[in-house]
Symmetry: C2
Subunit: 404 residues, 2 copies
């Protein structure tokens, strides 16, 4: 397995493009992206659990009912959510894209991200689609990644090469998301492409299983978006025997998918709104995986833990507190906590009580850009990892007056 270039275009047969079509006022910001597979692909997707759902999700869900897709169209600058004509606009966007590509509208994944509750004007999209289609190229992944960004400060993209049954396959992805949710800049979007051959059933299984340990374990501000969506398109051009059941090939695919999703998770969390550092919480020694996940997420979501990490303050009491109210069934008198980074590891709590630790060493560890909060519940064999970021002045600034 090795990291390669060209994100969503790394897999054979995929091209992409991103342009400024005019949804966003700032002309230097791309706002319309397209990913296209030269041949029909199997497709799988997962969507937000928020009852308030973006119209594009409803349309995409309908299009993916047959497990097939061939293109992804996505705009930024407007989420097309909470609008009376949302479905109509999302369908129009699909139809225009399909027409320009010469494929069926049912094979389009449609997504939108940006302000919610403001009607999305189809005119700039309609006008931009011909240019977008003519711009498709196997080097257009970067443009596509740019076109889906909102408050993101960094591109989120990766691709890797791996083997299935002796055949070289590629899988890559792009993501946007600077918070678990931003109803106004909704939200987390992830588009993954691969040339591995895999049935839509197994692709769906792989994705559902993977996100439980990846995207569902990321939190920037605890909110769950209206427009979250993760999709995978697999066009089979790598020529491996189609994966239709569990086994060695499926495991290899799962590993590759997981490498891509974990990478994107870390980059979404680390680029959380206003974030100055990535926080990874590793929980071990739990009675069950569900318990480990509950504990890890509770810590990552605690405003007080996040603020302490911003201040590089080894405030382990807040970690213990977040475990205590998580709802997980833990024995608080068995809990060990340590802070870790590339500067080393410093145990700060043993058996639920403080230990004599070096504040200086802890500070040095916590001043790093990537921090690990390591928790051992000493109560079983299950474990989990969650990703988040610190809570900073900039988070408040960004969200205090986003619309104006």
């Amino acid at each position: 397995m090795k990291i390669i270039n060209r994100n969503v275009c790394a897999a054979q047969g995929f091209t992409a493009a991103g342009i400024h079509c005019g949804i966003r006022k700032n002309k230097s910001k791309k706002d319309l992206s397209l990913i296209f597979s030269s041949v029909p692909a199997t497709a799988a997707a997962v969507y937000t659990t928020n009852l308030v759902k973006g119209a594009p999700l409803t349309v995409t869900k309908k299009h993916l009912a047959d497990g097939k897709a061939q293109a992804v169209i996505c705009n930024s600058g407007n989420a097309n959510t909470c609008n009376a004509d949302g479905i109509e606009i999302a369908e129009k966007m699909s139809a225009l894209t399909a027409e320009a590509l010469g494929i069926s509208a049912d094979d389009i994944v449609v997504a939108s991200t940006g302000v919610i509750g403001q009607p999305l004007d189809i005119a700039p999209i309609a006008a931009g689609i011909p240019t977008l289609v003519s711009s498709l190229s196997s080097y257009g992944g970067i443009d596509a990644a740019e076109g889906i960004m909102t408050t993101d400060t960094a591109l989120k993209e990766i691709a890797i090469e791996f083997e299935i049954g002796g055949k070289t396959c590629r899988i890559g992805g792009i993501a946007k998301g600077s918070g678990m949710i931003h109803p106004n800049m909704a939200t987390m979007l992830v588009f993954i492409t691969t040339d591995a051959a895999i049935s839509s059933e197994m692709l769906g299984k792989a994705l559902s299983s993977d996100i439980a340990n990846t995207f569902n374990m990321v939190s920037v501000d605890g909110d769950t978006s209206t427009n979250d969506m993760v999709t995978v398109l697999a066009n089979g051009l790598a020529g491996n025997d189609e994966i239709t059941a569990e086994g060695e090939d499926f495991t290899a695919f799962m590993q590759a998918l997981n490498t891509v999703t974990v990478y994107l998770c870390k980059h979404i969390a680390g680029d959380g709104e206003g974030a100055s550092k990535l926080i990874e919480c590793r929980v071990t020694g739990a009675r069950t995986e569900a318990c480990a996940k509950t504990v890890a997420k509770s810590i990552i979501c605690s405003s007080l833990v996040k603020a302490a990490m911003f201040g590089s303050d080894a405030n382990w009491g807040r970690v213990l507190c977040a475990i205590g109210y998580s709802g997980a069934d833990v024995d608080v008198n068995k809990i060990d906590v340590a802070f870790e980074s590339c500067k080393g590891s410093e145990p700060v709590c043993k058996n639920g009580a403080g230990v004599d630790f070096s504040e200086e060493k802890a500070k040095e560890i916590l001043l790093e850009k990537e921090i690990v909060i390591s928790v051992n519940l000493n109560d079983g064999d299950a474990s989990a990892v969650a990703w988040g970021c610190d809570l900073t002045y900039d988070y408040v600034k960004i969200n205090g007056d986003y619309r104006t």
Copy 2:
């Protein structure tokens, strides 16, 4: 019913005091408080649901098993939580207080608030108790209220006069809490005194029923403290017939208690760490009360809603989003949202979609110190109210480096 002075000392027979004994370094900050009833009182308390509990809570719970108490001793500056000798220290604190007052240690409510995970030295407390007891006065409520403050920027106190069966009764309280939880400055403490005569059983019933709609509906940062405690002492000196069952007298008592608790709730929320304004969320038209509460709390807890309120930004999409992920069973297409304050009311969302509203008027409303987010689910008759505050730069500042 009318508001009167002297908070916990308004009820007959109660005296209080607050001094600096030396737990806190800053000598101008009081750190030890005492409330005393001249006669034994019935007592009731509710405690945090956090699995990590402060040692004083365990000791208080034991002392209140018989439904009786006569004094409250509370220190600030140290939460006596996550310490190996915590129980021992809390018991010692009770015993010393009881000895100085000439009562049984079993009649002491003991509480601590401040940094957790640092051993609490009994020496300054032991040295301070004689002074504290000799300072007891019917005007000492202010000192007692000061002695329990941590990051609070304002005293939280109230007393009211009311009638039960023609007899004048008094009920008053003091509170500390600048967040729902501060594991390091743990936490929300509320001490209420009354001279109404009420059985410990009915007092417990009144308190449990009341907090479900008051203190359990307050959130500053979504965390639940290790040391939260609300206690009521009722010494019966008002001379009303003891309340031993539901009925008119119990209702009158409940109303008085609720006036005190709602007042303290609003002051805790409005003085939330770094808060610049109080946010009250009123949810009506819910199918069930549980649904209304879930929705109200989800809105109050949303970092994005809180940040928008800080910026006086009428960002109703975030309100809708927080409802959508709350887990409550609602029909998103029926939801109405309005922002309100003393400057008026501005509807911003009808039937789950935006309406044409005046940004100027909404801004004027949201620039006030007390804001109401009014949500009508249009789906039933149940309602709920929750209180919170905005998320500000100061919250991050206060919590970014509290210990150092």
